[in-house]
């Protein structure tokens, strides 16, 4: 170790504290300790407890014992569970697709020169700011079988003879909760994409105009490719929020009719708390984890810097 003797202070002369103080690794770990402790207590403990409960037969009021994967075996043969998995996917895919399309459209509109732009942008955020439960109650009223304003309007227009059974029919109920979720989720997508749109330099559009690009070509060849990084971020979050949604369903339908709108999150709650089967509920919640992990891994690759983003900045 010849190189170790060159130009280094001899370790014996330094106190323990001085050595820790000099050592970047130790110091770094010390600095991370508070954050690490917080994460451990507030993130890992509940998650770990959930996973553990899924491996027990705990019910409310009785501390259960370890039963291995029995809960999961039961769920595997449980048609209601599989229905909730199907519902969750349907809900997530359809709602996310609509949120993306409508959110992007709204962002493009808001990015134009409009009168009262700031006010319009603030209004757009409203559905997102209102507490979910409050907007869910409003939708509940809108979808009411007797007092629905939609049914009333359609009847007045002579389009329907009798009121629509929004929340009583399986497919109507699915469409209804998806519509409510889309309404609620558009602002987030729109505002994030608007922020992305505003980072695209105006001169690129001017160059494209001079290059002879039509409006649609400018969107397809300039706007959309430059927006893909932020689309990846926004849609990852949107998918995660939608996949784990609970409040809207719980207020609007409680999973009904006949479990047609039960998502994994609502089914988990229903089995665990009103049903008392904590172990089974925890198992359903834990079953969501692989799907969420898949979504995160997908977005991890989506979020990676594209090749054109690497290197020094252009402006």
């Amino acid at each position: 170790m010849a190189e170790a003797t060159i130009g280094r202070p001899t370790p014996q002369r330094l106190s323990l504290w001085a050595r820790i103080d000099n050592n970047r690794t130790v110091l770094g770990l010390c600095m991370m300790l508070p954050a690490g402790a917080l994460l451990l207590v507030f993130l890992s403990y509940p998650l770990g407890l959930g996973v553990w409960l899924g491996l027990t037969d705990t019910t409310i009021g009785r501390k259960g014992g370890f039963i291995g994967l029995e809960n999961y075996e039961l769920l595997f043969d449980d048609s209601v569970f599989w229905l909730s998995v199907f519902n969750t996917f349907l809900y997530t895919v359809v709602a996310s697709a609509f949120k993306f399309a409508l959110g992007l459209w709204l962002a493009l509109i808001l990015n134009n020169r409009l009168p009262f732009k700031a006010l319009l942008r603030a209004i757009v955020l409203l559905p997102w700011i209102v507490p979910t439960v409050l907007s869910a109650i409003a939708f509940w009223w809108i979808y009411d079988s007797q007092f629905s304003i939609i049914s009333w309007s359609l009847q007045r227009l002579g389009l329907i003879d009798q009121y629509v059974n929004f929340l009583g029919d399986a497919n109507n109920a699915r469409a209804a909760v998806i519509a409510a979720n889309v309404w609620r989720g558009i602002p987030f997508v729109a505002i994030c994409l608007l922020a992305g749109l505003q980072t695209i330099p105006q001169s690129l559009y001017e160059a494209a105009v001079l290059d002879g690009a039509s409006e649609w070509q400018r969107f397809r060849c300039v706007t959309f490719p430059l927006l893909t990084p932020i689309i990846a971020v926004v849609m990852t979050f949107s998918v995660l929020f939608t996949f784990t949604d609970f409040q809207l369903i719980y207020v609007l339908t409680r999973g009904g009719p006949f479990n047609a709108t039960h998502l994994m999150a609502t089914l988990s709650f229903q089995r665990a708390i009103p049903g008392g089967q904590l172990g089974e509920g925890a198992a359903i919640a834990t079953a969501m984890v692989p799907f969420l992990l898949a979504a995160i891994i997908f977005s991890y690759f989506g979020l990676q810097r594209r090749r054109w983003q690497q290197g020094a900045a252009n402006d």
Partner: protein, 357 residues
């Protein structure tokens, strides 16, 4: 190729008029530089030629065709932007090929045109890179390549060198000039840098506050500026403008400053005695004088640049600048005598700022 004629062009943003009737002739195959301080409207005028800004009044014609209502893509022009405006998600090749692809040119033909432009600009090695992987000068060349492949009637340059460092700027200046000589394309070039204007232009248009102050060949503007603004703007370091009164006696004429310094004039100036004037003399038109010749000044700052020597002096209450190609041994505080070359003196009316004689 084509000429560009601008007749009575006006531009207003809301109620604010920024261009007040501009008339410029850009001859076919010429390199015309619009120069002026920030906010003089030169970039706005360029964008009006490109079609990126509407023309409020007057008309602009390219190749004899009025283009006021013609959309940018049908004007057959190409523009190089200040920040290059390269598409960051496209490789150099695709950046250059983009307009051709939109115009539905045959792929083989696109390839040929891009390769030829890349060869002219030494971009052959860089075609597969993204703009972010290029240096400033390379990006600048790609921006020009994008313009060249289209073989437009007119090239427009909007301060293309202002994002480059000083050395690269000089190099690119020459490259753009060489490119122009090779392609013989009509070019309109906007800059705030008068040295760029002087070195590159066939024709310079000096603008201020939405007006054209003077246009002409670079040396014409240098030798006969029409007013004090052009006199101060063209040439670096700037021309000295010293206020005084014309006096004539015994067939010789001079300008007497308010501090009783007599500055000689050539005999044949037609300016009547008693006129209040600015005595304009460029720093390089002073020489050191011996004995009682010239005017007495005190050296305050000496700035040697190697090639020349800039000396800032105080002359009875007025600051004057002189530059010499010889390396005189001068010290701050030293008293010296400077002699102007009377035949190279410019006179301007103090009221109108216009050139006299």
């Amino acid at each position: 190729m084509a000429s560009v004629e601008i007749r009575g062009a006006r531009k207003s943003f809301g109620s604010v008029e920024v261009l007040h009737g501009i008339d410029i002739e850009v001859p076919d195959k010429s390199f015309t530089v619009l120069v002026g301080p920030s906010g003089c409207g030169k970039s706005t005028l360029l964008r009006m030629i490109a079609g990126l800004e509407e023309i409020t009044a007057g008309e602009i014609a390219i190749g004899g065709r009025m283009v006021n209502g013609v959309p940018p893509k049908q004007r057959d022009i190409a523009m190089v932007f200040q920040n290059y405006a390269l598409y960051p998600h496209m490789k150099v090749y695709d950046n250059m090929a983009f307009s051709l692809k939109l115009a539905k040119v045959e792929p083989a033909r696109i390839d040929e045109l891009v390769q030829r432009a890349a060869e002219i600009l030494n971009l052959d090695e860089l075609l597969e890179r993204y703009p972010r992987q290029l240096s400033g000068g390379q990006r600048q060349r790609v921006a020009m390549g994008r313009a060249i492949v289209r073989d437009p009637q007119v090239f427009l340059f909007d301060e293309p060198l202002s994002n480059l460092d000083a050395k690269l700027r000089v190099q690119m200046r020459t490259e753009i000039r060489e490119l122009h000589q090779r392609l013989q394309s009509t070019s309109v070039y906007v800059t705030h840098d008068q040295i760029e204007a002087m070195t590159m232009a066939d024709q310079i248009v000096v603008m201020r506050d939405g007006h054209v102050e003077q246009s002409g060949a670079p040396l014409e503007l240098y030798d006969r500026p029409v007013n004090t603004f052009v006199a101060g703007f063209i040439g670096s370091p700037a021309m000295n403008l010293i206020e005084g009164t014309v006096q004539k006696a015994n067939g010789s004429a001079a300008v007497m400053t308010d501090d009783d310094v007599s500055l000689p004039l050539a005999r044949d100036t037609g300016v009547p005695a008693g006129s209040r004037v600015y005595y304009g003399i460029r720093p390089e038109h002073w020489s050191l004088a011996e004995g009682e010749h010239g005017v007495a000044v005190e050296v305050s700052v000496v700035e040697p640049t190697g090639a020349e020597m800039l000396v800032v002096c105080r002359m009875a209450g007025v600051e004057v600048q002189a530059s010499f190609h010889e390396r005189h041994a001068l010290e701050p505080g030293q008293h010296i005598r400077l002699r102007p070359r009377p035949e190279l003196v410019h006179l301007f009316d103090t009221k109108t700022s216009h050139r006299l004689g």
